[in-house]
Symmetry: C2
């Protein structure tokens, strides 16, 4: 499936996948959240081919997820730094991680601890919450069309109503 195909779905999930729906991109993101900025460091950490890495970094920069800028410590080197748009992908990474923790755990225990800088305490795991703070599963939620629903999406949303 090419990116062109994905664009035809006027769906927020598809629009996101159009920009990050490729595992290398998500692993590069993961490393960027761990503070990696330099081409060589991404390459060493991911054991990724320079050609693939270069293409992915270029596309993430073009999409405004990373910003390419000169290194402050070495004027000849470049760094790829998460933009605000990139930083906003943090919940996506955390939900991917939580599911991996649950269904593909490491027998020795958690693979990392995520701690709140302010308090040093573990952060909460991510949940879908109701307006009044109850934890919801997919089965507790229903979907309705809204102002931005196109015909294709309406057919998807109405499928459940019909089924």
């Amino acid at each position: 499936m090419s990116r062109t195909d994905l664009k035809k779905f006027d769906c927020s999930v598809a629009q996101t996948l159009d920009q990050i729906g490729e595992w290398w991109t998500l692993l590069i993101l993961r490393d960027a959240f761990h503070g990696i900025k330099r081409f060589d460091d991404f390459q060493e950490q991911l054991e990724i081919s320079p050609t693939v890495l270069s293409a992915r970094l270029q596309s993430m920069t073009k999409n405004g997820i990373l910003e390419k800028r000169k290194s402050k410590t070495d004027g000849r080197a470049f760094e790829y730094v998460l933009t605000e748009k990139g930083l906003d992908l943090y919940p996506v990474l955390l939900t991917l991680m939580a599911w991996g923790d649950k269904y593909s755990p490491n027998a020795a225990g958690p693979r990392m601890e995520l701690l709140d800088k302010k308090t040093g305490r573990p952060i909460q795991s991510i949940h879908v919450l109701s307006e009044d703070g109850r934890r919801l599963s997919a089965k507790d939620v229903y979907v309705k069309t809204a102002a931005g629903t196109d015909q294709r999406m309406a057919s998807l949303i109405n499928y459940r109503a019909k089924a």
Copy 2:
């Protein structure tokens, strides 16, 4: 990158991507959350080739995300139904959707409304929360090694400490 490559990363994100890190899989999941169960309905909704759809459904079934079972209404037909493991991917879909809503909106408005079955009220958007309920961004969180951290992950986690 083949799935074999992804397995080498003992990382919860990589382990998840090994199972769902491919956009067709995530769009199939999206449709399954909308209640789609039948091969023909997935195909019609996604305009996906039968060969690709069949391969993806098979891999999702093998990974325990979908269960293939005989239709209750038509004994000759099969249905693909989300398992509990599959249902647990709901937060992943919602975080993908929220980011798409924010950065690739439809000018006419939201593409759908997500409502709480119990109250009929909109659900909360997904946030990373501290133990005491404050909303956190990636910059508010730090990472430490834990019992299940392997050498590769330790090098990633310690990168920030060093940088």
